[in-house]
Assembly symmetry: C2
């Protein structure tokens, strides 16, 4: 399939897209690190450790690959991140308005 301006980003747009993903990544991972630190200070017995282990297993699975830039899934990836509040539409300013509308609409579903 030939790429047209409709299904690819300009260099500037790609930079904005990658920076936005990176911001979201920083937010989610910082929140996770803070949460793990809080939980760790409250560990009193082995069950608390295994709770932490289960949490890390889930999060590792969820985060693995989540922030890899991929144009073909970018709208859906962003909509998920907006829904989860790791990404804001403001982070995506500079992308085409129709793409922002799609992301915004998907994030509300």
């Amino acid at each position: 399939m030939l790429e047209t301006s409709k299904n690819k980003f300009s260099v500037m747009e790609e930079t904005i897209a990658k920076q936005a993903l990176h911001k979201a990544y920083e937010r989610e991972t910082s929140a996770l690190i803070a949460h793990v630190r809080d939980r760790s200070n409250a560990i009193a017995e082995l069950e608390d450790l295994w709770y932490l282990h289960d949490l890390l297993s889930t999060k590792r699975y969820e985060i693995d690959g989540k922030y890899v830039y991929n144009f073909s899934t970018f709208v859906f990836d962003c909509a998920t991140l907006v829904k989860e509040k790791w990404l804001y539409l403001d982070d995506l300013q500079g992308l085409k308005p129709e793409m922002l509308s799609k992301i915004s609409a998907l994030a509300r579903m």
Copy 2:
């Protein structure tokens, strides 16, 4: 196979055995909890979280079932714990001297 006094514990010996296992359990799990707390305070990035996850995966696998009292494997279980320094021969005082000698010898292997 008939049980004789050679291959079973008296009530008193079984109590000593279980208490010793419990002491070792407390030592290992307390050390693990302290280690995880220390590591957690030093978490700066995602890789540190995944290191913690790997550590907990290994420890969970190792500890699962390790402290279940079982007469038939008691000498070997104790020797492992003595070798790992979670258990001391003093914790086993009251058991038969020949059993203590076996545990001591195995722990040095």
